[in-house]
């Protein structure tokens, strides 16, 4: 009988084996590692095909029906199509061409400037606004997906009173009656609940309301708020300020649980600055990046030195850093922070005074933010890498306190009328508030929202909100820049904006949102040339010079003494909450593009999971998809486990936003509701969670195990020294292997792409942009589990090193456009052919769906319409790009370098008898990429950007040994610190490297 000691020994031997194997090669998932050790039979779920038929009767019924349909459609001529021209044509003469409008979309209140492409009046695609500081031409995934949100058939379409259909007019009547009584009481009993307000017009309206009704209360709450950042600033600097970072000036960056590449306001801009400062080209101003993380993030994946610690220990790091730098701060004695990490960080920070930067994330408490302010001030970073400005949120109160006050007042029966403008507090308010029960005590509850959601269902009145692309408004970006949001289409369902609702509340003459916003700005400007200003602002997409200018702040002297003493709580498992990487706090839950976009690190789709470290999983004997009960005090939630390399031990991370009951047909019943465990005392993280194995299993749809390119030279990794040495050697001779393929036809153009893996941060914006541009359907969780996701560009994620502390690498993989394309030779109907421009085109009308091409594709980038995925829903049809064919069932599809964009540019150039200029064709993935990782262009143009990239000796082709000669090539990932500050032979954390450069 095996003893405990035997088992332990066996387990530790297995762990060592796993670790050794991991260090030797790249791996993509825990299963990947384990599978190699114990070759299991092919995973059955991949092979089984569930035909939803139950017996002979159903089969016959279906066959009869389809036969009848075939007969019916075969005997009659299709009806004539109709053409419906305008009655009065629009001002533009470019009938049939897309028109772009400058506007802005907001994420958690912070705006990003965008250009909205409209086709015949229908918004179809979002591009970044190159002149907007938060965008510079790029966007995040949420801005890309906002166009689907606009057309979402599940959006709230009617005013509802007690869940019965009503009208805006009856609502106005009810409201004005209510307001008459409220006015007499000077607003006593009236409460407004908004999310963070960054709109100057809305703020002015709220101020007017509070002036007229002085006893009314305005509360704010959103699940992803910035309380700690503002509180920390108030504590350390004495006032609410916005902290802006200048990554372009920083040489050393220390991030304390700060996901500034993906989570912080302005992250799209930060990502650009960060990557520009890290590139080989720009003499790499950013030398070393230290990150402490409580849960793996895209930012941590870029760190030179990453430290995974439970969230509560990040404060210890901040204190230790501050103490080492000579700030009189009490330090937790029994801290377990690795000394070498701390020594290195402190040495680097001191050496780069005035050019270093400490960033803190929203998850960390105010104390950590205050410490960072002190450290940055002490190192002379303020004014250089750290810029303080007025707060972007108009009234940066503590939202948690605000919503708690509201909850208390509601329960005490002091709230007589509650207006909830946006937000979904019934779903995402802290669990201990019991907001739902409190709501029942309020006699008159109004909810304005995009969806008939959890809060709408519990309100007396629900008013459908106008989408950001349907209404006028204004919004501030992370640096204070104001954009006017202009509508690109009339409200589809008569939705109302917050401005219109407040105007109705104020009892003003019924104004349109346009008049309200314009009047606000007219009052601000008082200039004679307002009309010109207005036109110019709308055209540019931003109010010129509206960014906040830096302000002077002074750090409180007694900071060290004023801080609460450090607390020691160890040895228990910590529960950490995070914004879901693709659906945020749940507001995007009904967005199918975002649901199906694999989460950057876990590659999960359609669900959240309890993320645990491999070590914890081993101790608790947990496997992926095991359902555990997360118990916290008297609350409990069941969640499937996902083992996540890089997760700190003793922690469980759960993403918010799932477990929705009234999100809509897409978002309902996916995942679990982490808000049930989120209380006002443990808002971002809390100790003392228990994981209890239930024995149940829950199927998760991860794209991780699919499309494996196991054990080969896929993501090439070079150290900075190697890369520079390789560059200095100059281009080597590229191998030309013997081939039996026919020579390619040639033309004036030879299109090609280069993807810089050193710039890719893995955010997935390219995938969503491609989906929007190319009418790519969504397949749903069950189909994703069968490996049938349709994304034309996927972002592969690889791990390297030990499972507990791996290096994370990303690789976007579109179709490689092989010159010797293996897919072409096997197609029996020549549906996969080369055109003279070098594009491997897929001819949908020839394709008969043999799928031979996909079988023969070494990159697995071809996607097959196994079912009729492209739904025929009027609003979804309206979103589709009219320049791209909507594919039907049984047809293969894949990336074609945005052929429609090439053709458009080509026709424009041909009409002018000139060549297409470099940079004139920008693919959707290239345009959206925040870091410029993707460059596309013409190989026949000697000076083109893509030729410059490919001239680098570091340029390499994926699976070059197959001699497919891809037109899409890669530049390697470069790791490790720059040479000049790499003192005393400290070798960074360079790992065994893959193959070097050519020659």
């Amino acid at each position: 009988m095996p003893t405990d000691a035997d088992e332990k020994a066996a387990a530790s031997a297995a762990a060592t084996q796993t670790t050794q194997r991991a260090q030797q090669r790249f791996w993509r998932s825990i299963e990947d590692l384990v599978d190699a050790a114990h070759p299991a039979p092919m995973r059955s779920s991949m092979l089984s095909i569930d035909i939803p038929l139950h017996g002979r009767r159903e089969f016959m019924k279906l066959m009869a029906a389809s036969l009848a349909l075939t007969g019916a459609s075969g005997c009659s001529r299709p009806p004539l199509e109709k053409i419906v021209p305008y009655v009065h044509g629009p001002a533009q003469s470019s009938y049939g061409k897309p028109v772009f409008f400058a506007s802005a979309v907001a994420r958690d209140g912070y705006g990003t400037g965008v250009l909205v492409e409209t086709n015949m009046g229908r918004p179809t695609k979002i591009e970044g606004n190159p002149s907007h500081p938060a965008s510079l031409g790029a966007t995040d995934i949420f801005a890309q997906a906002s166009v689907l949100e606009l057309w979402d058939p599940d959006r709230s379409k009617v005013v509802r009173q007690a869940n019965a259909i009503s009208t805006w007019r009856s609502f106005l009547t009810a409201l004005s009656e209510r307001m008459r009584a409220l006015k007499q009481r000077h607003g006593e009993g009236l409460c407004l609940l908004t999310e963070s307000v960054t709109s100057p017009t809305l703020y002015a309206q709220l101020q007017t309301l509070l002036e007229r009704l002085p006893k009314a209360h305005w509360h704010q709450y959103q699940a992803l708020n910035r309380d700690a950042a503002y509180d920390g600033a108030r504590f350390a600097l004495g006032r609410s300020v916005e902290t802006r970072y200048r990554l372009d000036r920083a040489r050393i960056v220390v991030a304390l649980d700060a996901d500034f590449l993906d989570g912080l306001p302005g992250s799209v801009r930060y990502a650009r600055d960060f990557v520009a400062a890290r590139s080989l080209q720009s003499n790499s101003t950013l030398h070393r990046f230290y990150a402490v993380e409580s849960t793996p993030s895209l930012t941590g994946a870029q760190a030179d030195r990453r430290l995974a610690l439970p969230a509560r220990q990040v404060e210890d790091v901040a204190r230790a850093l501050a103490a080492r730098l000579g700030l009189g701060v009490a330090v937790e004695a029994s801290t377990s922070i690795p000394a070498d990490w701390l020594d290195a960080a402190v040495a680097d920070l001191v050496a780069q005074r005035g050019q270093c930067l400490v960033i803190v994330g929203e998850r960390q408490p105010a104390t950590v933010h205050a410490l960072a302010h002190a450290i940055n001030a002490m190192l002379g970073n303020v004014g250089s890498t750290v810029v303080y400005t007025a707060p972007v949120v108009a009234s940066p109160i503590n939202q948690l306190a605000s919503v708690s006050t509201l909850g208390t007042a509601m329960r005490a029966g002091e709230v007589d009328s509650l207006l909830m403008i946006g937000g979904n507090p019934a779903y995402d308010a802290p669990a201990d508030l019991d907001f739902v029960a409190a709501l029942e005590r309020v006699p008159f509850k109004v909810h304005l929202g995009l969806y008939d959601d959890e809060t709408a269902a519990r309100s007396d009145w629900h008013v459908p909100a106008a989408h950001a692309l349907e209404t006028w408004s204004d919004v501030r970006a992370f640096d204070g820049t104001i954009s006017i949001q202009q509508p690109c289409i009339a409200p589809l369902y008569g939705g109302k904006s917050a401005h219109e609702l407040l105007s109705a509340l104020l009892g003003d003459a019924p104004d349109s949102a346009h008049d309200i916003v314009r009047a606000h700005w007219q009052a601000q400007r008082r200039a004679d040339d307002f009309s010109a200003f207005w036109q110019q602002t709308l055209h540019q997409g931003l109010v010129a010079d509206s960014a906040f200018s830096p302000i002077e702040v002074s750090l409180r002297r007694d900071l060290g003494a004023a801080l609460a003493p450090p607390s020691a709580r160890r040895g228990e498992i910590e529960l950490i909450f995070c914004s879901d990487p693709t659906i945020g706090d749940g507001r995007y839950a009904n967005n199918a593009w975002l649901q199906e976009l694999p989460k950057p690190l876990t590659k999960l789709t359609w669900d959240n999971a309890a993320l645990v470290a491999p070590a914890l999983a081993q101790r608790l004997q947990l496997a992926n998809e095991d359902v555990v009960e997360l118990r916290l005090a008297n609350r409990a939630v069941k969640a499937p486990v996902w083992i996540t390399p890089g997760q700190p031990d003793h922690t469980v991370t759960v993403a918010l936003g799932y477990g929705r009951s009234r999100a809509g047909s897409v978002g309902n019943a996916h995942g679990f509701n982490a808000n049930a465990l989120r209380t006002s005392t443990g808002f971002w993280f809390t100790g003392g969670v228990e994981l209890v194995k239930t024995g149940q299993r829950y199927a998760l749809a991860s794209t991780q195990g699919h499309d494996t390119m196991a054990g080969r030279d896929i993501v090439r990794v070079l150290s900075r020294e190697e890369a520079i040495a390789c560059k200095d050697r100059g281009p080597g001779a590229k191998d030309t292997l013997f081939t039996l393929y026919r020579a390619l036809p040639t033309s004036e153009y030879a299109w090609a792409m280069s993807i810089d893996l050193n710039a890719c941060i893995g955010c997935g914006a390219c995938t969503v942009a491609c989906q929007a541009e190319n009418n790519i359907p969504v397949v749903g969780k069950a189909e994703v589990r069968r490996g049938r996701e349709m994304h034309w560009i996927r972002v592969d994620r690889y791990y390297q090193g030990a499972p507990g502390t791996p290096r994370t690498l990303f690789m976007p993989v579109p179709c490689m456009q092989c010159e010797h394309a293996p897919c072409e030779v096997v197609c029996p109907v020549e549906a996969s052919v080369h055109d003279a421009q070098g594009i491997n085109v897929q001819v949908y009308n020839r394709c008969v769906g043999t799928r031979f091409c996909s079988n023969n594709c070494p990159y697995k980038v071809r996607r097959f319409n196994f079912l009729q995925y492209a739904q025929d829903v009027p609003t979804l049809n309206a979103q589709r790009n009219p320049q791209v064919t909507v594919r039907m069932r049984g047809v293969m599809e894949k990336c074609n370098y945005c052929l429609q964009r090439i053709t458009t540019a080509r026709i424009a150039a041909d009409k002018e008898d000139r060549r297409i200029r470099d940079g004139e064709v920008v693919t959707a993935c290239q345009a959206v990429c925040p870091t410029g990782a993707i460059v596309f262009g013409d190989l026949n143009d000697a000076g083109s950007a893509v030729n410059q990239r490919k001239a680098s000796p570091l340029d390499y082709a994926l699976l070059a040994e197959l001699n497919t000669r891809p037109r899409t090539t890669y530049l390697p990932k470069i790791i490790g610190a720059a040479r000049e500050i790499d003192r005393s032979g400290r070798a960074g954390d360079a790992a065994p490297l893959a193959r070097g450069c050519h020659g």
Binding site: K82, V84, P85, H88, A836, N845
Partner: protein, 217 residues
């Protein structure tokens, strides 16, 4: 007992059976080839008003671009907004009963619904502007509309027909300034002119013009 079906009868039955299947299949294919979403060839199409290209183009000499305003800049030539009709018809034939639907539509803002005469499958992307820009005349595809009292389709518009020109554009090209001319005839040898224009307008090689990606995407 002798066999009921002799070998010869059995063979005959088989041949007949196969023949029937073949005929049905051929008929089905023939029908699928001819079934289209647009109007039948050479058949005048009923429209909400009896609009006559013959009258507007042939008799009045109105240029194509007066109504099809985006033909030089956009993929689509554009069906004119009713406001274009009313530029003249607010003054001319104001009381004509045939024009009543137009006037009503203009007044009420309810658009007219025309029947499509030329339709291409959704996976075909035809661009008017590049054809006009490279010397392919308006009459080449919709035909002599200046002789059509009501509009009908004169060419098959199937891929074979498109390729006839894409394979040998020399046969159809004319000087750019003549593309809107209904009556233009080549002076001398069309092939020689076509060859010259093909070079002058930098028209792509036949290989490129017949690439799938030229029209499909």
């Amino acid at each position: 007992m002798a066999q009921v079906f002799s070998r010869r009868l059995s063979l005959l039955l088989r041949v007949l059976g196969l023949g029937a299947v073949a005929i049905i299949a051929a008929a089905a294919v023939a029908y699928r080839v001819t079934a289209r979403t647009d109007a039948a060839l050479l058949a005048p199409i009923e429209q909400p008003i009896p609009f006559s290209h013959k009258h507007h183009v042939g008799d009045d000499g109105i240029d194509c671009r007066y109504c099809h305003a985006s033909v030089e800049v956009s993929a689509v030539a554009g069906i004119p907004p009713l406001s274009t009709c009313m530029t003249c018809h607010s003054q001319l034939f104001t009381d004509a009963s045939v024009l009543a639907p137009v006037v009503d539509a203009y007044r009420t803002g309810r658009a007219l619904r025309w029947n499509r005469v030329h339709a291409l499958p959704d996976f075909v992307y035809f661009d008017h502007s590049i054809h006009i820009g490279k010397g392919v005349a308006c009459v080449t595809c919709p035909g002599r509309v200046d002789r059509m009292p009501s509009t009908w389709r004169v060419v098959s518009l199937d891929m074979q027909w498109c390729l006839e020109c894409h394979r040998a554009p020399d046969r159809y090209l004319r000087p750019r300034e003549r593309v809107f001319d209904m009556d233009w005839q080549p002076q001398g040898d069309q092939l020689a002119l076509g060859k010259e224009l093909r070079e002058r307008y930098h028209i792509r090689s036949t290989r490129e013009l017949t690439d799938c990606s030229t029209c499909h995407r």
